[in-house]
Every structure is written in C-alpha cells, then in structure tokens.
Symmetry: C2
Subunit: 205 residues, 2 copies
C-alpha cells in the first residue's frame, strides 16, 4: 500500500501488528479515529499504555488484577482448597459467567506449544505444583481446551503432581446442551457415552 | 463482561469503540498486547496520537499529507486541470494503484448522508466549486460509490456547478473484468449495455 503520509503509514503498520487485523482493516480503523474527536484517540492510547505499565497479576492465581491478590482469591466466600487450572483470563471469565464454580483458579498464561516456542518454564506451572505440595489444596480441576497442546499441558502437570496426595479431575466433555446428537463429532459422542453419568445427577442442574 | 481489573476493562472499552471491534475481539487484542513487549504498546499508542495531533491535510485536495501540499498535488507530472472527486483517502489509494489516472484528486471527506447527520457543509464541497469557478480546472470526474448517498452527493455538486463552464464525467459502471455475465445484477448489466463503448476503444487497455 502506498500512503500519502508517513504518520498514517506508521499508525497503520502498528495497528496491523494486532492479531487478525490486516493492513486494510488497520487503515479503516485509523481513518475512523482520524474522524473522531482527539479525546477518543488519547483515551485509547492512554488506556493501552496504563494497562501495559500498571497492570498487576494476582500473586496466588496469576489472574490479571489491580491489586496483589485478585478479587476471587481475596473473597471469603470461595472454596480455597479447590483450584481450577485454565489457560488464560478469558477462561476465568467464561467459567465465572456460569456461576457454577465456587473454588479458585490458577491461570497458566498459555499452553505448552513447541511450535510457538512455549515451553513449561514460560507457564505458571511451578507455583501450581508448589501449592499442591504444600497441601493447602485438595483438588485440581484441569479446564484446558482439549487440543494437542491442551492435552500435553494437562499431562505434563499431571506427571509433575505424581507422588503428591491430591485429587485431580478434568471438566466433562460431551454433547453441548441443546445440540442434536446426529451432528456431533464421533470423538465427542464417544466420550459422552464412555463418561456417562447416573441419570439422577443429570436432574440436579 | 466482568473484568478482574479496572485497567483491563478501560482498555477493552476504549478498543471496542472502534468500528467492527466488539468486546470479545477487543479483549483478544488487548490480551495480545499484554503478552507482547511493552515497546509494541508504546509504539502503537504513540503512532495513533502522533497521527491525530500532527497530521495535515493537503490545502488543495484535502488528502492526508505530511506537508501543506500532498505529493500528488505537488508533482509536476500530473495533469492539474483534471480533478477526480472521491469520498476518502482509501479511494485515492485504490485509483492510484491502477496507475491509469494522471490528474489530481479532491477528497470530500464523506458523502451527504442525512441518516448519519452528514450535510453538505461538513464536506469539502465549497473549495471544489471554488476551484471550478476560478477556471483552473477543465474536467471534474465523479468517482463516488453508486449508493443513494453517493448519487445524492454527485447530484448536489453537479447542481452547484450549474452555470460554470466545466466538463463533468462519472466513472463507468459495468460488469467487472473477468466476471460472468449471467451472475451480474440487472442494474449493472443494464448500465453496461446503455453505456456501451465503441469496440475499438476496448482494445486500448
């Protein structure tokens, strides 16, 4: 693309570094900002810099937080002996939205993925194993996505927990509520049959 | 959405003000920035603020420019008596990419659209009529999109030019090069028949 202004080119280039934003979309966004009042651009830019420079991570669960202990970890109403292992903050938000979980979280910050250069040492795995070893938690729930990377990460953590007396579980995989059986993929349908539950417990929720 | 951090919420809110960016996408973009080095966020934020505060518009054609006269208007190789009227800078870039046009541009900055609260006074129409009245240009080419707003704007300018001795033209509408006739819409096909051109001139390009 040929830009008539270096400033414009710079802004488009920076904007198109974001995932899923190509040069054309970046140009559209930047031209939109140009048409809006200056305050909007300043607010956006300040919010991004503030977040990047001032954000804290919860010292217990590594969730994004404004203080050293996040609201969930600090709450007296949560079951502190149950820990749900998730990939990132979006998973925390998704599970929180269900209002079905009353334990704490442990945010790994990613999945083991050699293809993307992410090894176990870059993830918050050590502190999880440490928590388990201290004996302050009784159950670890694995809630990573069931992809190759997710399964690898689950298994890596599971191996690390060997020899520690702790209950581990993984969230149920199966046909989504409201979905037609005939359209489900074989793996999911197979798992939902293998891991069938007593009918009475399905009446609870 | 429930955010665990006010800083994060602020950044997502600002990001989701951009057109086509919802809260979920904004969260994805913001979390991506959080994972990247601080320099990327600073560069993006600086580029946006620099653009907004320092950008200039060409005093002749209203194109975005780093100086008071844009490269196109300043170039000695362009035919300064032909002016192509376009909606915004993206149209200039699209036409420039064809390498078929050697005249100048006139960027309106939008289209007349009462629905969006855009009237003729918010567009760069006055300076175009002024240019035509001065007699420094011989032809005005209308290259707005053929929507209700585009046609309205074309017609408004056309009426303003009444009484001024100037040639006006509009870009050709028709079947796109490489397109199948049978899939073309009736209006486009109809126009391409009405506005047929001598066969010899089709051999030129």
């Amino acid at each position: 693309m040929d830009f008539s202004s270096k400033l414009l080119e710079q802004a488009v280039n920076e904007m198109s570094q974001l995932p899923g934003i190509g040069k054309r979309t970046a140009l559209r966004l930047v031209l939109h900002l140009l048409k809006q009042p200056e305050s909007q651009t300043l607010a956006l830019s300040k919010a991004l810099v503030d977040l990047k420079t001032e954000v804290k991570f919860c010292s217990n669960c590594h969730n994004i937080s404004d203080s050293t202990l996040c609201e969930i970890c600090a709450s007296p109403n949560r079951q502190k002996e149950i820990v749900c292992v998730v990939e990132d903050i979006r998973d925390v938000m998704a599970i929180e939205n269900t209002s079905q979980y009353k334990g704490l979280y442990h945010v790994l910050g990613g999945k083991i993925s050699p293809m993307d250069g992410v090894g176990p040492s870059q993830l918050n795995i050590g502190s999880l194993v440490e928590k388990a070893r201290e004996g302050s938690i009784s159950e670890i729930i694995f809630a990573l996505s069931s992809t190759l990377e997710g399964d690898t990460t689950n298994f890596y953590i599971f191996k690390k927990l060997q020899g520690i007396d702790i209950k581990t579980s993984t969230i149920a995989r199966g046909i989504a509520v409201g979905d037609e059986l005939e359209f489900a993929d074989e793996v999911t349908l197979g798992r939902s049959i293998t891991n069938r539950i007593p009918f009475e417990s399905s009446l609870k929720s």
